[in-house]
Amino acid sequence: MSNVTSTPIDMNRTAAPATAPKRSRGPRLTGVVWLTWRQHRAAYWTILAGAAFSVLWMTIQRADLIDFLTIHGWPGELSADWVQGAGTYSAMFNKVGLGLGFIPLVLGVFLGAPLLAGDLESGTAKLVTSQTVSPNKWLAAKLGISTVVVVVCMTAISLVFGWWWAPVKDENNILDWTAGAAFDNTGLVPVALTLFTVVGGVAIGMVLRRTLLAMVVTFVFGVVVQVVWAMNRLNLGQVVTRTTDKGVDGSSFPKVPSGSLQLDQSYVTGAGDTLGTSTCVHAASKEARAVCLEKADIVGWSVDYLPMSQMSGMQWLGSSILLGMTAAVAGFIFIWTRKRLV
């Protein structure tokens, strides 16, 4: 009996693969990597093609933008009237930015949710795990390859979007850096948001074990992620407060750096307290108002704002939080499947 069990591996390896695949593009894949790529190749190729198309599209848009800017003196000082023709470019940034914002949701629903749910629903998970391969290895291949595809595509999109935007980055009226269209499509944020939604979708599919249901729930999950993220995006920054003591009339309002997002403005008293800007608004005359301001001891302005210099830091912080949660969900997937995969 036991002599049968020790069939030499090499002998069987060389046992004529008479049905070898016709040809293979690129490196020859083996084992679970081959299986994962073969199983999901339609999805992976679609994602890669979509990313390539986006990159190409944005490259063309950038060329267009550069043509326009060059007419108005770019890369030197822009002529004063350049803003008049910039509306279409601003609209394009916002439109593309909005569109790219849907990528995490789309990939979560169409790549993440079915990744395990499909195999669990159709029973192919049983097929794979009853071969000589550990479930963990298979799972790692599935998550790993999907992660690589997502990271490659989203990094490319992020870099090209940032490159397109760079010439007009300081112009808040083209694209506001605090808006999702800019903040979520540059730096590490699009990579992290997409990874989190996709891995979340995988976990949802693994628990629910039904593809369609998992896709619906992942859609809801993705929307919630976007909403929570949008609501907390600005909390990632450190609000800067600038106060003045030159009164509150005329041109005494403090200058904040260009591109800053002004969050709040108020009067400040000699004692350092802030008062709403509606203070003394009911004064009948200019003199009465001056008396009123005097009486309230208002000495100047207090302005809260987020300078654009914080953008990168905020993106890193937010991305690390998202990636940390992604890692936690991935850990959950491995722990769950150790108990019960099929």
């Binding site: 009996m1 036991s2 049968v4 069990t5 069939t7 591996i9 069987n12 390896r13 046992a15 004529a16 693969p17 008479a18 049905t19 695949p21 083996t30 084992g31 679970v32 081959w34 299986l35 073969r38 199983q39 159709s122 029973g123 192919t124 049983k126 097929l127 794979v128 795990t129 009853s130 071969q131 000589t132 391969v133 550990s134 108990k339 019960r340 995969l341 099929v342």
Partner: protein, 322 residues
């Protein structure tokens, strides 16, 4: 009967294995051993726990209580995984893969893959290598699934209702392939089936489970010779068929599995304990008759033959070895 310890290697040893789903117990306190090299039939009504038992041996499920060993190793060990192949009832395959790609899957994921064995099974059914699995008929798909299980060159091949969607001709051919391959390599085969008559031709070992418990386990010949089918005249005829007639007093000393009357005709399946009164005509039952009786009477005392027992386990009060 050999009452000594089990001499051969065990393909499967189960120690008080139980499995509970949310609905309730699927399998309760199953203890048995399946000696290596046997062709074992796994019989039981629908929902008896056959699939659950196989899935646990194939490391697709974990027992709630108790433990299983496959060739002495835990089912989750790499060793056991390499030596077992499991063909699930629904025969899952990737629908968008071609037949050739499906076989490549076997080659990529199994170090001991036998491409020739797998290909010859596929070719015997004229299944085109470049057809997508999704376009194949049910029987062709089963054939490919079979090829995948065989190509792994397992030492323990578990087949869950393998023949249910095959025509009789193909069934016969695939069974022939199965038995030839098993005999050649000494493969242990565990297969569940509802086709009792065919099991009799194929199997030399039996496991019968019903309502979650093990009813019978052991060598087919041993099991058959331990039983006696009696026919005679009923002493107290009821009206027509009596579903639960009273067992005559002269049978009380034997273990009565089933006693049925039809008019004045009475028949009984017993495990004799001493001589039987000569008012009965006795003969050895066919396997199918025996199995039917056990399946009809789930309350009958279990029979675990010595060769099917694991050491250190209580096998019910009626154990033959006691």
């Amino acid at each position: 009967m050999d009452l000594g310890g089990p001499p051969e290697e065990s393909a499967i040893e189960a120690y008080g294995v139980s499995k509970r789903y949310r609905r309730g117990w699927a399998l309760r306190e199953c203890s048995f051993r399946l000696p290596a090299g046997r062709i074992c039939g796994l019989v039981g009504p629908n929902g008896a726990g056959k699939t659950t038992l196989m899935a646990m041996a194939a490391n697709l499920l974990e027992p709630t209580n108790g433990s299983l060993k496959v060739f002495g190793a835990a089912p989750e060990s790499a060793e056991a995984g390499r030596r077992t192949a499991f063909l699930a009832q629904e025969k899952p395959l990737f629908r968008r893969f071609t037949v050739a790609e499906t076989l490549r899957l076997g080659r990529e994921l199994n170090p001991g893959w036998d491409q020739q064995a797998a290909e010859s099974i596929v070719r015997a059914g004229d299944v085109p290598m470049h057809a997508k699995i999704g376009t194949l008929s049910g029987g062709q798909r089963t054939r490919v699934a079979f090829a995948l299980a065989f190509g792994k060159r397992p030492d323990l091949l578990m087949l869950d209702e393998p023949m249910s969607d095959l025509d009789p001709l193909v069934r016969h051919e695939l069974m022939g392939t199965l038995l030839a391959a098993a005999a050649e390599r000494g493969t242990t085969v565990l297969m569940s089936s509802h086709m009792l008559s065919e099991l009799g031709d194929v199997c030399d070992f039996l496991l019968v489970i019903s309502t979650g418990g093990l009813r019978m386990a052991g060598d087919v010949d041993e099991i058959l010779s331990a039983h006696m089918l009696l026919q005679g005249v009923d002493n107290a005829p009821g009206q027509g068929r009596n579903p639960s007639p009273e067992v005559p007093a002269d049978l009380a000393r034997h273990t009565v599995i089933e006693y049925r009357t039809s008019g004045r005709q009475a028949s009984a399946l017993i495990r004799p304990d001493g001589p039987v009164s000569d008012r009965w005509q006795s003969h050895t039952p066919h396997l199918e008759e025996l199995l039917l009786s056990y399946l009809r009477c789930p309350d009958a005392p279990a029979l675990i033959s010595p060769g099917a027992q694991v050491p250190g386990r209580l096998h019910g009060s009626e154990t033959e070895a006691a």
